[in-house]
């Protein structure tokens, strides 16, 4: 990059301007990615942190997508599933967002009902008590031993679990399935106990086995990760935020491409000189792409650093989650797409005819 480095130094203003644009776009993309991840966790962490690998949804209307708000499974269903070969455990899990009242305040929480002693809750729950997530304890400003009214039912706080699980942007609390049914069972007809979904741990059950069982029981089984889309708040947010990120990535590629396009055109005279002096096309492309890579890597690194620093400074109420996936992945995407944009632009180097271009200079 003999010439490219000296061009960078010589046309500092132009390159600084371009770097600032890359930094800002990177900042925005990284921040959006972290926000997407943070919001996704607020919507679904109670599901994704379950010690289960699959969730079974009932399908009230055939053809609908599985949804936590619509699903309702009976004891018969989870007993059927428990007997399936390859299924180690099949436990009912109730999920219902309810109003919670403590002495001081009220808040929305999501109550997860489990069989007493179930591993689906972070700690053992017993009838008449409730286990709070840290978020619920904060929102309700209560601790162990105090009472909370959940959907009209008074329960004693057994403990505050070391978990910040939440569901549909409300903090999670855990109760026994019995208490949950009193709070959250919607339209339980007859006397058969119900839950929202069945949580499975499987080993060696093939997808075909599971599909066959689904067919038989009129259910849909999703992996834990896929079950996120059954949370209505997640589905909407995630699609729009991911679309925004994709647009930003494409825009940044186009901006970088446009910049290098103009830059390449403005220096086509010098490229002609270099060709006349004996620079091969490969040499010139290397030079130009190296320059673009330097600009991109520098700008993206700075932008990612700023976004990470900025996100760390934000108050806890803003749901941003900084992970490798929300910083390094978008950064790599920006660099790859930016290089692609630059590559398309500098490819015109190959078409420059030194004789004609020199005559015009």
């Amino acid at each position: 990059m003999f010439v490219a480095l000296r061009d960078l130094k010589n046309a500092r203003g132009r390159f600084v301007l371009m770097s600032v644009v890359i930094v800002l776009i990177t900042f925005l993309v990284t921040f959006l990615a972290s926000l997407t991840e943070g919001l996704a966790r607020e919507s679904t962490s109670a599901v994704t942190e379950l010690p289960a690998d699959r969730l079974v949804f009932s399908m009230p209307a055939p053809g609908d997508s599985p949804a936590f708000t619509a699903s309702q499974v009976t004891a018969g269903v989870w007993e059927e599933w428990a007997q399936l070969p390859g299924v180690q455990t099949a436990e009912p899990l109730g999920v219902a967002t309810t109003r919670a009242e403590s002495a001081g305040t009220t808040a929305s929480v999501t109550t997860l009902g489990v069989i007493p002693g179930s591993a689906l809750a972070p700690q053992r729950v017993t009838p008449g008590t409730v286990l709070l997530s840290t978020g619920a304890a904060e929102d309700l400003r209560i601790g162990t031993g105090e009472t909370v009214t959940l959907g009209g039912r008074e329960l004693t706080v057994a403990a505050v679990a070391d978990s910040d699980a939440s569901f549909a942007h409300t903090p999670a609390v855990w109760t026994s399935l019995e208490d949950w049914q009193a709070i959250g069972a919607r339209g339980a007809d007859g006397d058969e106990p119900v839950a929202t979904v069945v949580a499975l741990t499987t080993s060696g059950a093939s997808d075909a086995d599971l599909a066959a069982a689904d067919n038989e029981n009129g259910t849909t089984t999703l992996t834990r990760a896929d079950a996120r889309s059954a949370v209505s708040s997640f589905a909407g947010e995630n699609t729009s935020l991911t679309t925004m990120q994709a647009f930003l990535l494409v825009i940044s590629a186009l901006v970088v491409g446009a910049f290098f396009s103009v830059w390449t055109i403005s220096r086509s005279g010098e490229i002609a000189v270099l060709k006349a002096l004996g620079a091969s096309t490969a040499y010139l492309l290397r030079d130009a792409l190296g320059q673009a890579a330097l600009l991109l890597v520098g700008g993206v690194a700075l932008g990612t650093g700023l976004a990470a620093g900025g996100a760390a400074l934000l108050p806890g109420t803003v749901p941003v989650a900084l992970t490798a996936g929300t910083t390094l992945v978008p950064a790599a995407g920006l660099i790859v797409l930016g290089l692609l944009g630059a590559g398309v632009s500098v490819a015109r180097i190959t078409g420059i005819d030194p004789h004609a271009a020199l005559a015009a200079r």
Partner: protein, 231 residues
């Protein structure tokens, strides 16, 4: 190595018809000697140099270095570029320096293009810059040099790779008569030292006293008989 131009013809598309800029030119420049090419504007001098440098392919004819056929109408551009890099030194009609490189870097670039460390030619580059009289300006970029200084940097650049063939287009156009004569003298002397076959285009016959031979061009053709200027 001698430079042989054999039956070179170059035409440019010109609307419906075409314009013959170089018309069946035959010319030999012996190694170490300088042949001056004189002729009115538009007679095809720069075009002939472009063909000799492989910058554009001739319609017919062959460029030979010694016995080796180097450029023909069928030479691929990549091969021509490689030959230019390794065997040809060129001075263009305007200096054509690179805007962000200092005078010294213009010369060091040649080593980089050949895949060597730029510093590996530094002492030779400084020697050449001193020979053309711009050593004091080695850290200046083209915008900080005068027209004549730029042209002299361009001459030094053409010589840094020890070319077998040196093609020089109007090196004296930005210089006064005295300076111009000196520059031509310098080129002929350096060409002799290097053993480079040198073809030097000029408008101004009075600067060419040191050239080994002078030929005239008109309408794309070499005029007969080629006069010889006393060396």
């Amino acid at each position: 190595m001698d430079l042989h131009l054999e039956h070179l013809t170059l035409t440019y598309p010109d609307g419906e018809s075409s314009l013959t800029a170089v018309d069946d030119v035959d010319l030999t420049v012996p190694a170490g000697s300088t042949t001056a090419l004189l002729g009115p504007s538009g007679s095809g001098k720069s075009s002939l140099l472009a063909v000799a440098a492989g910058l554009t392919a001739p319609d017919h004819g062959v460029v030979r270095f010694g016995g080796e056929q180097v450029f023909t109408s069928a030479t691929p551009a990549a091969r021509a570029t490689r030959e230019r890099l390794n065997r040809i030194g060129m001075v263009f009609q305007s200096p054509q320096l690179l805007g962000s490189l200092t005078a010294l870097e213009q010369l060091e670039l040649h080593a980089h293009l050949r895949g060597r460390r730029p510093a590996s030619v530094r002492s030779r580059a400084l020697e050449l810059l001193a020979a053309v009289g711009v050593a004091d300006h080695r850290h200046k970029r083209p915008a900080q040099l005068s027209g004549g200084q730029r042209q002299r940097v361009a001459i030094a650049r053409a010589l840094v790779g020890r070319p077998e063939v040196l093609l020089v287009d109007e090196p004296t156009s930005a210089l006064d008569h005295e300076r111009g004569t000196q520059v031509v003298e310098l080129i002929t002397q350096l060409a002799r030292e290097l053993g480079a076959a040198t073809l030097l285009v000029s408008h101004d016959a009075s600067t060419l006293t040191t050239a080994d031979r002078t030929v005239r061009m008109r309408d794309g053709r070499i005029e007969e008989p080629a006069g010889t200027v006393a060396a």
